[in-house]
């Protein structure tokens, strides 16, 4: 199963329609989407605008891979559940978010073994195919992921000092 998530109520049609186009040619692959408040919901896979945190975690757990925006909620969920994640950053210039934060976030996290980044929606389809062909490879991904001890220590020292 592929889980598609735009992370919030804010639609991200550029990503969703790219996956929808890909899905048209792959009726054999189950896809479920969380697509925000959009006038253009996907036609080739089932979707909802938003979901509860529990359902979000469940869909994530069931997924073989996730396609999403480059938001920290999605990134942390993917690391916690060790899921391969394809990210397309939202762009401030297209009013997909307030600014280009996600471009920087994607640049930073693309070095993680579980993560792939595309800069253009036209590359989404090809990258999904590549990732699906390599699901086994992602299972051995060992991205380090822990709250920095130094951050926790600094906060502890501050509240106790």
């Amino acid at each position: 199963m592929i889980f598609v998530t735009v992370g919030s109520q804010l639609a991200f049609d550029r990503l969703v329609s790219a996956v929808d186009d890909w899905a048209a040619g792959r009726p054999d692959v189950a896809i479920f989407g969380q697509v925000g408040d959009t006038n253009q919901p996907p036609v080739h896979f089932e979707s909802v605008s938003t979901m509860s945190p529990e359902e979000y975690q469940r869909r994530f757990a069931e997924a073989d891979m996730v396609v999403g925006h480059a938001g920290m909620g999605t990134i942390i969920a993917a690391l916690e559940q060790r899921k391969p994640l394809l990210m397309l950053p939202r762009l401030g210039s297209l009013k997909e978010s307030r600014n280009d934060n996600q471009v920087g976030t994607a640049r930073h996290f693309r070095s993680f073994a579980l993560f792939e980044v595309v800069e253009s929606e036209s590359d989404v389809a090809e990258r999904i195919d590549q990732m699906l062909a390599n699901l086994e490879g992602y299972r051995s991904a060992e991205d380090s992921f822990g709250v920095g001890d130094s951050l926790i220590a600094a906060i502890r020292a501050f509240v106790n000092g």
Binding site: G7, G71, I76, Q102, V147, G148, I152, A154
Partner: protein, 152 residues
């Protein structure tokens, strides 16, 4: 017997909330209270943790901002936490402002999503935060924010 210490975590929904939750190890033996704009998150906290919903707001809707500020102030007065922590955005700013006015210890951990510059709320919250942190080393400044690592 000493009374357990109380911490109030405040944020908006989504990535801010998820980062906030990852700061729990710093407050293991504390009574942990949460305030967030997504009421649905109440069911995801642990049984010994308490959750309060606050109204959503954006910086373009003044009335909603006032209501959100009032809700944050009310929760602070009601729960009397010793420490207030936020990762963003406007509810966190109000938590820093009122927390400081009420003499609480205030901690701002700016979202890791802001790697080019500090968030707007983080810039404004800085002067009310007793501990003002960024999650990016290159954004740290001698006068603050400071950098001690990140939640990932």
């Amino acid at each position: 017997m000493t009374r357990p210490r109380r911490v109030l975590f405040v944020s908006s929904s989504g990535g801010h909330w998820i980062q906030l939750r990852r700061l729990r190890p710093a407050f293991e033996d504390w009574i942990r209270l949460y305030a967030c704009t997504n009421p649905g998150y109440g069911s995801t906290t642990e049984s010994e943790e308490r959750f309060f919903a606050v109204p959503e707001a954006s910086r373009w809707n003044k009335l909603r901002l006032v209501r959100q500020a009032g809700a944050v102030l009310w929760i602070l007065l009601r729960t009397r936490p010793e420490v207030v922590v936020s990762t963003g955005a406007s509810p966190g700013f109000f938590a820093m402002l009122f927390g400081r006015l009420l003499g609480r210890k205030t901690i701002w951990v700016d979202s890791i999503a802001n790697m080019d510059e500090l968030s707007l709320s983080g810039q404004q919250a800085g002067r009310f935060a007793d501990l003002w942190l960024t999650q990016w080393a290159h954004l740290a400044r001698p006068e603050g924010p400071k950098y001690f690592g990140s939640v990932v």
